[in-house]
């Protein structure tokens, strides 16, 4: 197990290097002079020269990258061009808010999706199965920002059950935190719930067809033991994978949802930085998020060993 872990960690190095190179290259995607793009059309030659100097744009590309990378390895992501705060502190302030939203949303979708998927598989080809598949299909087809707008219209503006915008941290008030995040979490969660329901159902169907399940049935196990103790655990690998992948989708979807609900998380920071052409912050955000995503993938791989001890990692 530990040698597997070391190997997997070593394999992350080229991936993270590529990620860093892509992030670095983003400002070189700007057509024309990146310094001019950041300062706008009113900038004079002197300001432009200063900005080029500040961003190290005068050096050859490879030198720029190595400089940037060595700063990065020391935890220096640069500073915002707008507020002079360091990128790292900006991100560190906002990240907990976004994670709060994402985890809540993930919890909601898992709590809805896994039971729905399991029951659908057990009651294969019944009315319940068809109904839940239709709901799941609608779930994955609705854009999350549209769901957000409709939820606001119905539950905030018309029924007044939840606030339409804003965020209260858990330390201030858990109840208000949940109240504020419920609509955003649901709008993010619809798609996840749809995807996870479908995956749970098809994975459970595969497992329920296997011989050992027949043996367990023959031994007289109760349906509950059969499904939850014997089938679900073996059906978990594809489900865990899809949940891991969806984490990435949530990290993207949160940009739109945070902007609708005025939640001051990473997503809002991203949008503000894009509008302000604050490229160091944009680069910092996608770098940090990609790194988080890469480590979640690793975590999912490790979870496999729990769900299926047969998976041998010594060779892999």
């Amino acid at each position: 197990m530990s040698s597997f872990l070391i190997k997997r960690l070593l394999a992350l190095i080229p991936v993270l290097l590529t990620v860093s190179a892509v992030v670095f290259m983003i400002i070189h995607f700007i057509p024309g002079d990146p310094a001019a793009a950041m300062l706008g059309s009113q900038a004079n030659e002197e300001q432009l020269a200063q900005m080029r100097e500040k961003m190290g744009l005068n050096e050859p590309l490879f030198i720029q990258y190595t400089l940037w990378l060595s700063n990065l390895l020391q935890g220096d992501l640069g500073s915002s061009l707008v507020s002079d705060q360091t990128v790292l502190s900006l991100i560190a302030n906002r990240l907990p808010v976004t994670l709060n939203l994402i985890i809540y949303s993930m919890a909601i979708s898992i709590l809805i999706a896994i039971p729905l998927g399991v029951i659908s598989a057990v009651k294969h080809n019944t009315g319940f199965d068809y109904a839940s598949m239709v709901i799941a299909l609608i779930g994955i087809s609705i854009p999350n920002f549209w769901a957000a707008l409709l939820l606001i219209m119905v539950f905030a503006l018309n029924l007044g059950m939840f606030p339409a915008t804003g965020y209260i941290s858990i330390s201030e008030s858990l109840i208000l935190n949940i109240k504020h995040l419920t609509l955003p979490a649901f709008s993010l969660g619809f798609i996840q719930a749809g995807i996870i329901t479908r995956m749970t159902r098809s994975s459970m169907l595969d497992v329920l067809r296997q011989d050992y399940i027949r043996t367990v049935k023959a031994k007289g196990a109760s349906p509950f033991t059969l499904v939850f103790r014997h089938a679900l655990k073996n059906a978990m690998i594809p489900i865990v994978t899809i949940i891991g992948i969806n984490f990435g989708l949530l990290l993207g979807g949160t940009v739109v949802v945070e902007s609708i609900f005025s939640i001051n998380g990473i997503g809002q920071l991203m949008i503000q930085s894009v509008l302000n052409r604050d490229y160091p912050v944009i680069q910092g955000i996608i770098l940090v998020i990609a790194a988080i995503y890469v480590f979640i993938t690793l975590f999912v791989d490790i979870l496999y060993t729990y769900f299926d001890p047969k998976i041998k990692y010594s060779k892999g």
């Binding site: 991936v15 990620v19 983003i26 700007i30 098809s202 595969d206 989708l249 996608i286 998020i289 990609a290």
Partner: protein, 294 residues
Amino acid sequence: MKNLSLNVIKKPKVSSSPFFEHFKNFSRRKQGIAGLLIITVILLIAIFAPLIAPYDPVDDVNYSNLNAAPSSTHLFGTDEYGRDIFSRVIYGAKVSIQISFITILISASIGVVMGLISGFFGGVIDGLLMRLVDGLMSFPPLLFAIALMAALGSSIKNIILALAIVYTPMFARLIRGCVLSIKEKEYIDSIKVMGGSNIRILFKHILPNCVSPLLIQMTTYFAYAILAEASLSFLGLGVPQPDPSWGNILYDGRQYMIDSPWITIFPGIAIGLTVLGLNLLGDGLRDYLDPNLD
């Protein structure tokens, strides 16, 4: 669904024409057909937008009829400039579908070539290409697209470019996997022994075997592209105003949500229906092309 696919296998095929036979088999999958129908209608609407839309989506501004509710003259109501929402949604179909279609075509073409080269030749090329693919796939797609749009600036051409950069690695990965699974088969060896060139083996013997997963993935990613374009435009980073796309009509309607909800409701339904159609079509194709999957 399972029973149906068994029937198909058991029945001896009396084929009139291969295409007709394919269609007949496919048409047994109700959801696939439903999806195909929805997508065909939406495509027709997109293609014939100028004939269907009663008003010009951009120029027919009417300041005496702002944010009007749906009526017989304006089926979906009007927006903040008095423009006809119905016409804007119809033209929006054209813009949104064009962008997504071209995006998928480009990503699939480049991805297929990358995947074929990577999977077939292996070695250093494979290593380098796949590290690039791994790296690009480490970014959440929408977030990556937003960052790219921030650098490139918003225009239709740049949305296509940004989304193509995001989606190409996914096609490369798919095709590479497919090539790896086929390249070791014995018949490929015998073709090599008979002196078949690499190009011939790749395009005539390996690629055709990858068409099914490719088609399924193209359908799924078409849906993703529709959603991504809508999200970008909704954030004001996609299709520049005043041209309509489903996302930027929603963006317009956002501030009038309480008094004029129709501005937000109809383009959302259009997006949802298109994505639903593509998902149904994708599921149908999967059932039909890959009977092993449930």
